[in-house]
């Protein structure tokens, strides 16, 4: 297995001069993990703010604009409030699993972030089974949701968790298959290689019609994966209170909340990497300035995040049977046909290259 820790190299070199190589490797990993943790918990908070402002604009409101300039510190203040709150729990709850569940959710969300190539250098963990690893790790989150719902000793939480299980396991298929469609084109699971390949045209252009269909399926299934409206039956405020995290308060609730937004960012980031050329600028206009890659990556990702917010504030919630009909009768057959079409295109070399 070829693992190259690109951004860790500088830190590791610095540490190697002070201690043995293996110790330096571990310490470098810890430092990188802390850097990621810091960046993305703050980024998650700003995503929450973005969501609230965008939601407000969709509903002809103004949104939070009092704390800090244009409300920039609003979610920071909210997080501070949540930290200082009491951690409550239900009677006869399974205390161990109840306390474990939020960490499953937040750790699986943060773990997948390490693979995302923000630029050529800024990628913590470039594993050769990248896409596979991403799909695998992002589906661990559902275990946390199921544990939380089960251990809460609350009917609403249990119903929410079970719905989440049904939903995530169904839509996992579509996410996997739509990404597999693109893997046919790249022939590699490693994210850095996928990005390298897109220097001759983003994959959504290279793969044209089947790639666009795959992208649409990916966005629908990805929205369902993150349990956001219109697929938010897991939380379904009007039916279940708050679903699986009904009984959580304070910081544990904040973990669930933050994980939802990091997952949303993650889904958008994977779509950016696989379909829209990650940190590559359109037509290579800023190829000479490599650090601008982060900017391009964030612009593309936030546009896709905005698309998901647009879905959320437009569409009404689906029923459970409608949700399963959509997956098993529409998305999955279309996806399978789409893979065959993509295979045909790759075989006949009908790819559009710029």
């Amino acid at each position: 297995m070829q693992i190259s820790l690109n951004i860790t190299e500088t830190i590791q070199e610095c540490l190697v001069s002070m201690m043995s190589e293996s110790a330096a490797g571990y310490i470098a990993m810890v430092i990188i993990a802390l850097i990621y943790l810091g960046i993305f918990s703050v980024a998650g908070l700003f995503l929450v703010l973005l969501e609230r402002r965008v939601a407000a604009w969709f509903q002809l409101r103004i949104g939070p604009n009092r704390v800090g300039f244009q409300g920039l510190l609003q979610t920071m203040a909210d997080a501070l409030k949540l930290v200082s709150k009491e951690l409550t729990g239900t009677d006869r709850a399974d205390k161990f699993l109840y306390n474990l569940a939020p960490y499953f959710v937040i750790i699986s969300a943060l773990m997948a972030l390490g693979l995302i190539p923000f630029t050529k250098e800024f990628q913590a963990f470039d594993i050769n089974i990248g896409i596979f690893f991403l799909i695998a790790v992002s589906s661990i989150g559902v275990i946390g949701i199921l544990l939380g719902g089960w251990a809460s000793n609350n009917k609403f939480a249990l119903i929410g968790a079970m719905r989440s299980g049904v939903q995530t396991i169904s839509y996992e298929l579509s996410v996997g298959l739509s990404l597999l469609t693109m893997i046919l084109l790249t022939g590699s699971l490693q994210l850095s290689e996928i990005v390298e390949l897109q220097k001759s045209g983003w994959l959504i252009v290279q793969g044209h019609i089947p790639a666009i269909i795959a992208f649409m399926i990916y966005m629908i299934a990805g929205t369902a994966e993150t349990n956001r409206a219109p697929f938010d039956m897991v939380e379904a405020e009007s039916e279940l209170g708050a679903g699986f995290h009904t009984e959580y308060s304070g910081m544990k609730f904040a973990y669930f909340f933050l994980a939802e937004f990091i997952n949303m960012f993650l889904i958008a980031a994977i779509a950016t990497t696989v379909f829209f050329g990650a940190w590559l600028s359109p037509f290579g206009i800023t190829e000479s300035i490599p650090w601008l890659g982060v900017l391009w990556f964030l612009v593309k990702t936030l546009l896709l995040v905005f698309l998901m917010m647009w879905f959320r504030w437009t569409f009404p919630r689906l029923r459970v049977d409608q949700l399963l009909t959509l997956e098993w009768k529409y998305l999955l057959p279309i996806n399978l046909v789409n893979i065959v079409v993509m295979a045909f295109i790759v075989w006949q070399n009908l790819i559009i290259l710029i």
């Binding site: 965008v54 407000a56 604009w57 969709f58 509903q59 002809l60 409101r61 103004i62 647009w310 879905f311 504030w313 437009t314 569409f315 529409y330 279309i334």
Partner: protein, 158 residues
């Protein structure tokens, strides 16, 4: 074949919905309905049918239109209105007539149902637009609506 038409119908209707919310998103700067309340206190104008409190309008001669008929007091389901009245010589006609001494209005008991205003035969009481009704002492919520030394406007009873 309805399978494929279902898909295209689905996508079409979803896009219709998204275009509508998209238009709202783009126009939100101009058409935001949020009132930034403490900032726009000077320019904030409540809408016509807003029910803030019951008021009794007085004209420039300090005259009101309340004849003291007590219909509002009877109509009120909560006992919000108390009219303290007396009989006195009417200066226009010289007859001994009913006059209000104090029109007492307990805002703390009022549910803003509007029955008193509907029932008033002379339109002496109306809805006020004031909504900043909070006070530190609840006795301040008991108000006398007729101003001191105010009189009945001539010709109201005709």
């Amino acid at each position: 074949m309805s399978y494929f038409s279902n898909i295209f119908n689905g996508i079409k209707t979803l896009l219709t919905g998204m275009s509508i919310t998209g238009k709202y998103f783009l126009n939100s700067r101009k058409g935001a309905i949020t009132q930034q309340y403490p900032d726009n206190r000077d320019t904030l104008k409540m809408f016509d049918r807003f029910r803030g409190e019951v008021i009794m309008p007085h004209d420039e001669n300090n005259e009101h239109a309340c004849t003291g008929c007590q219909k509002c007091e009877i109509a009120c389901p909560n006992g919000t209105i108390e009219i303290i009245w007396d009989r006195g010589i009417d200066e226009h006609t010289g007859k001994n007539k009913k006059k209000i001494d104090k029109f007492v209005y307990h805002l703390s008991m009022c549910t803003m149902c509007g029955l008193c205003i509907d029932v008033c035969p002379t339109d002496a009481i109306k809805w006020g637009q004031n909504f900043e009704n909070s006070v530190y002492d609840r006795t301040a919520l008991t108000r006398v609506l007729n101003k001191p030394d105010s009189k009945l406007r001539a010709g109201v009873e005709d």
